[in-house]
């Protein structure tokens, strides 16, 4: 049985204070990420600070430029919200692609974005790990995936992340020192760590509406049709007016990434690039950024092949006017 302190603050102020009061306390949102980690003995906390009573964190507020989504908004709410479905379809689709209905009913947008990274040597019971030394993720000094690596190579499997990247999202973070905003992309450091302290609460997320003529989409490939983490996922946005393409990939590195060279090439050529050339650019850029990590369901080679397929599919389905079909 897992026993820890449990707090249910009524205000954000109280919540940040509870987190600051004692090291070792952790935010509890939907619980779908953290509870399995507790059960496997991977994490232990002296207390949980539940955010369930912070009403402002449960709201979705639409303004003219975009939408403010409270970090406690569930994945089910996200996938069913009419405005998000209409104006940010990749985000709604990504939310609907997460795990299973039960997990989407409980899991939140904040929790999904801040989910722990995973690796086949990390997500294991105590019994499984008992004769292995502690890896970086557990406070040790080794990465089993890449024994000479200076940091943990575990992958980040959020389905929402690629969608967040193409919509240029902003996160609002609060702690006892105050509130600040960061660009979603800046959450991630190159070594896999995050620009977020354990005392900060991500309260809400701003997602900008793309140009009204833009089209955007999200695709996921996983071994089974539900429940599984992605082998790879993609999100893309095409705005014909701006001759702009945004293309993001997830589950292939410690952080989600945009295929920026491909995007800028597209912009330079003012969209006058064949789908085939675009595809080979994207493919090359992906393999340059892909982390070489062996997973239970896919070797890096298989992942590369599935990613190529998914990127190709993404570009085809984006249906960019004036761009030659593959």
């Amino acid at each position: 049985m897992i026993q820890t302190d449990w707090f249910e603050p009524k205000s954000l102020e109280e919540a940040v204070k509870l987190l600051a009061d004692e090291e070792g306390r952790r935010i509890y949102a939907g619980g779908t990420d953290v509870v399995p980690l507790l059960k496997y003995g991977l994490r232990s906390y002296s207390g949980f600070v539940s955010l369930r009573h912070l009403q402002e964190m449960h709201d979705i507020k639409v303004d003219s430029d975009g939408v403010w989504i409270g970090a406690m908004v569930t994945l089910t709410q996200l996938m069913e919200n009419q405005t998000i479905k209409a104006k940010l379809p990749a985000l709604a689709k990504a939310a609907g692609a997460v795990a299973s209905p039960q997990i989407r009913n409980s899991g939140t947008i904040g929790g999904n974005l801040l989910q722990e990274r995973r690796c086949k040597y990390f997500n294991r019971t105590k019994r499984w790990r008992c004769n292995l030394e502690r890896c970086y993720l557990l406070g040790g000094n080794i990465c089993f995936q890449a024994p000479r690596s200076k940091y943990c190579r575990a992958l980040y499997y959020s389905d929402l992340a690629p969608a967040m990247l193409i919509y240029d999202s902003i996160l609002e973070l609060t702690d006892t020192c105050g509130t600040k905003q960061i660009v979603f992309e800046d959450l991630f450091n190159p070594d896999g760590t995050r620009n977020l302290s354990s005392q900060q609460i991500m309260t809400k997320i701003f997602v900008r509406f793309p140009h009204p003529t833009a089209t955007s989409l999200f695709l996921k490939y996983s071994v089974r049709a539900s429940l599984d983490f992605p082998v790879v996922n993609t999100a893309a946005l095409y705005s014909s007016n701006e001759e702009r393409l945004a293309l993001a990939v997830g589950a292939a590195a410690p952080a989600p990434f945009r295929l920026k060279d491909t995007e800028s090439q597209f912009q330079e050529m003012k969209g006058k690039i064949s789908n085939e050339d675009l595809f080979s650019l994207a493919e090359r850029e992906f393999s340059k950024n892909q982390a070489v990590v062996a997973e239970v369901e896919a070797t890096p080679r298989i992942k590369l092949s599935q990613a190529r397929g998914l990127i190709k599919k993404t570009l085809i389905q984006l249906d960019m006017k004036g761009v030659a079909k593959c």
Binding site: K120, R127, F144, V223, R224, I302, S305, G309
Partner: protein, 750 residues
């Protein structure tokens, strides 16, 4: 299906359905006994090691801990956990607890405590110093020169059994082969994933009796092995099977019961032990990983003249059922093959231990054989269905490598039925606007209905004085519905309504011996025993009535549920109930008990024809299975809904193994990778195809009311049909299961 049955052939709801649906059914983990405590096992984290020292002081001092045992505290005898009758194929190579673990999860020590949580705490306080030993995970590695030998005291190498079956003359077969096809195939280890975890409650009482409640397919073998291990006679040991959430072969063996018994002996209280999912995944039993090499010889008339199979099985750290799996594999040939040779090798490795699993070797060999046939047909442009039908066994043919003939076979009807269903599906699909790349794949399958020689079943039919009936059988209903269909057989024979018969099963203290639930044997073997018992009680009732009415036995006639008695008083027609009342009481009254024992001399094969439709996403190299059609010849189905349910379950299980289920060992850390249900990919409902079932109009003369078997059959042919469909859609042959990753790599290589 024969007409004229009233109870047999009707789809009565199963005895246990309602309780299971509303959550009232009591499984092992639901049981709570007075004074009950808990036990847990310390398992080796190494695939191969030696325990140098073990210190249990910390564990023993933990509050709430009642006792700790290690491999030093239990009898140091070799045994075999398999729930299978004793034979030369049963190799005794395991210990109750061991100081030399041979796979990850091998049992080292155990604790008994007042709660499961305290057990965990105590386990973490046992300090073990291991010496790591060299590890072999693959068959080839294990057989290589200089490989570490896992059971040096028993064998000189890791090859623990060679099994050969032969028929005809291979030289002649090669001469007769105008075409010769060869193929090499591989099937990876898979797990059963029964919904209910393996569990037991063991109670070793102060007057030296043992009761074990638990997940068991074979209570009588459990009893025999526990008797050997404890030295107590079998009458002092009672094994009871509560409701069970599946077995699929995984519980055709002992798991932690011997440890539970010795923990209970220490505290003389009931000790409950329930596996967690991780123990279930790699420390219970898996299906043997297999490497197969086949040769198929065909003459100019497209007749099979030769079939040879060379099979290597990865049995993991212990032999358990491996040698018997080889023997069972060797005789599942459903074609006329004049020259046949099977050569099987059972090999130790440090992979998870393999045991029995639905199909018992047949799924692996069927996958190889049916794929080779499909490859041959594709090469030559032969029609896969026609080729098979042309070569299929028919009534009167002797089954290759067995000494008895086929008595029933509806393969023609099965093959026609699947085509009809396929045509209907295609008709509907033609109306869709979407164009998707689709193709169909075909395979045949067969199995047995029980085992011969070592098999036997028994039944007791007790007629109560009100005419109601209790059926006692040792056979375990583990969710497949045997309690229900066996009651149907009694009701049919005695002319009763289904509801007048209640089955009590699988309690070695109350029910008669039965070899157990495996080998798809309940309907045929136990069914025949039950039929004999019903006939026996009928005879006894006729004798009783003859006495009561002072008439001759031949003047009493059972017909259509009525009993007509001719005597000096005239002709009287009584219902079963009236007759029983009449004959039970009074001066000449008696108790009516019928008994039946059945020992089969044949194992009639049921047959299946399987068509699989595949959809291929050519950009992703991914596949989806929208439809599976299966027609089965199971003889007379006793309960068609139960047969259909078995086909649905079997097809799903076959599909999982064909598409994405596997247990891999990580080479770097020598650990099983699929240790939970996120990593291990069982098909979920969105992955599941529409399953179309057809039951042929069959009748097996040697079966009870014409029944054969169904349990394992539907799992067998699925993989080969999936692989064929994939070839038909893409031109790529994948010769390994699960196919998914291999298919992707092959496409990449192009």
């Amino acid at each position: 299906m024969r007409k004229g049955f009233s109870v047999v052939g009707a789809s009565f709801a199963r005895n246990d359905s309602l309780d299971k649906v509303i959550g009232a059914a009591e499984y092992t983990c639901d049981l709570v006994l007075p004074g009950m405590v808990y036990g847990k096992i310390l398992r080796s984290p190494y695939a191969h090691a030696r325990v140098l020292s073990i210190d249990t002081t910390g564990a023993k001092k933990t509050d709430g801990v009642l006792g700790v045992i290690t491999f030093k505290d239990v009898p140091e005898v070799f045994y075999n956990c398999s729930g299978t009758p004793p034979s030369a194929l049963v190799i005794k190579d395991e210990k109750i607890l061991t100081g030399e673990p041979k796979h990850v999860g091998d049992k080292i020590a155990a604790v008994v405590a007042v709660t499961p949580e305290i057990c965990d705490e105590a386990l973490s306080r046992i300090v073990v110093e291991y010496e790591e030993l060299p590890v072999v995970l693959e068959i080839n590695e294990a057989l290589a020169d200089g490989a570490p030998v896992l059971h040096r005291s028993l064998f000189e190498s890791n090859l623990c059994k060679t099994f050969v079956a032969e028929e005809g003359d291979i030289e002649q077969g090669l001469k007769d082969s105008y075409y010769l096809f060869t193929g090499e195939y591989k099937a990876e280890m898979v797990q059963h994933i029964a919904m209910e975890p393996t569990g037991c409650i063991c109670h070793y009482t102060r007057d030296d009796t043992i009761t074990v409640w638990g997940t068991s397919q074979t209570p009588y073998h459990d009893r025999r092995i526990l008797s050997d291990l404890t030295g107590l006679s079998e009458n002092r040991i009672r094994v009871i099977k509560p409701e069970m959430g599946g077995g699929f072969g995984g519980r055709q063996q002992l798991h932690h019961q011997p440890v539970g018994v010795f923990l209970s002996k220490l505290v003389r209280r009931p000790v409950k032990m329930i596996y967690d999912r991780e123990e279930e995944m790699y420390a219970s039993a898996v299906r043997h990983g297999a490497q197969l090499k086949l040769q198929l010889g065909v003459n100019r008339d497209q007749k099979i003249v030769l079939l040879t199979a060379e099979v290597f099985l990865n049995t993991g750290g212990y032999a358990t059922q491996g040698p018997i799996v080889l023997a069972a594999m060797s005789n599942k040939v459903q074609y006329r093959v004049p020259h046949y040779r099977f050569e099987g090798y059972c090999v130790y490795t440090n992979a998870p231990v393999a045991g029995a699993m639905r199909g018992y070797g047949n799924p692996q060999l069927n996958f190889a054989r049916e794929t080779l046939i499909n490859e041959a047909c594709a090469k030559m442009g032969w029609n896969t269905m026609e080729f098979r039908l042309k070569n299929h066994l028919q009534v009167g043919d002797k089954i290759p490598s067995l000494n008895y003939p086929v008595l029933s076979c509806s393969i023609q009807e099965c093959s026609e039925a699947v085509i009809q269903i396929k045509d209907k599906i295609e008709e509907q699909q033609r109306q869709e606007k979407k164009t998707i790349k689709r193709a169909w794949g075909l395979s045949f399958g067969s199995h047995g209905s029980g085992i011969t020689e070592r098999d036997q079943g028994a039944a007791v039919v007790m007629v109560n004085d009100d005419g109601s009936v209790n059926l006692l059988v040792g056979s375990a209903d583990i969710g497949q519905g045997s309690d229900t269909i066996l009651a149907q057989i009694v009701a049919e024979e005695l002319g009763l309504a289904r509801s007048q018969v209640i089955t009590l099963s699988a309690d070695t203290g109350l029910t008669p011996y039965d070899t157990g639930t495996f080998s798809s044997r309940q309907a045929y073997v136990t069914g025949n025993a039950v039929l004999l018992a019903a006939q026996n009680v009928k005879e006894s009732l006729v004798n009783g009535l003859a006495r009561v009415f002072s008439t001759d036995k031949s003047s009493i006639l059972f017909q259509d549920g009525k009993i007509t008695i001719k005597s000096s008083l005239g002709t009287k027609t009584l219902s079963f109930e009236e007759a029983v009342r009449k004959a039970s009481f009074g001066a000449t009254g008696q108790v009516f008990i019928g008994q039946g024992c059945f020992k089969p001399d044949k194992s009639p094969p049921p047959y299946a024809v399987c068509l699989v439709q595949i959809e291929v996403d050519e950009i992703m190299n991914s596949v989806k299975i929208p439809h599976i059609i299966m027609s089965v010849d199971v003889g007379q189905p006793i309960n068609p809904d139960i047969v259909e349910g078995q086909v649905h379950g079997g097809v799903s299980m076959g599909l999982g193994a064909a598409l994405f289920e596997r247990i891999q060992m990580d080479n770097r850390k020598e650990k099983p990778l699929e240790s939970d249900l996120l990593y291990y990919k069982v098909p979920l409902i969105l992955d599941s195809p529409a399953i179309h079932v057809h039951i042929a109009n069959g009748f097996e003369p040697s079966g009870p009311f014409g029944a054969k078997s169904v349990g394992e059959l539907p799992t067998v042919p699925v993989a080969a049909a999936v692989v064929d469909a994939l070839y038909q859609a893409t031109g790529v042959w994948v010769r390994e299961t699960p196919i998914l990753h291999k298919f992707n790599l092959k496409k990449m290589a192009e």
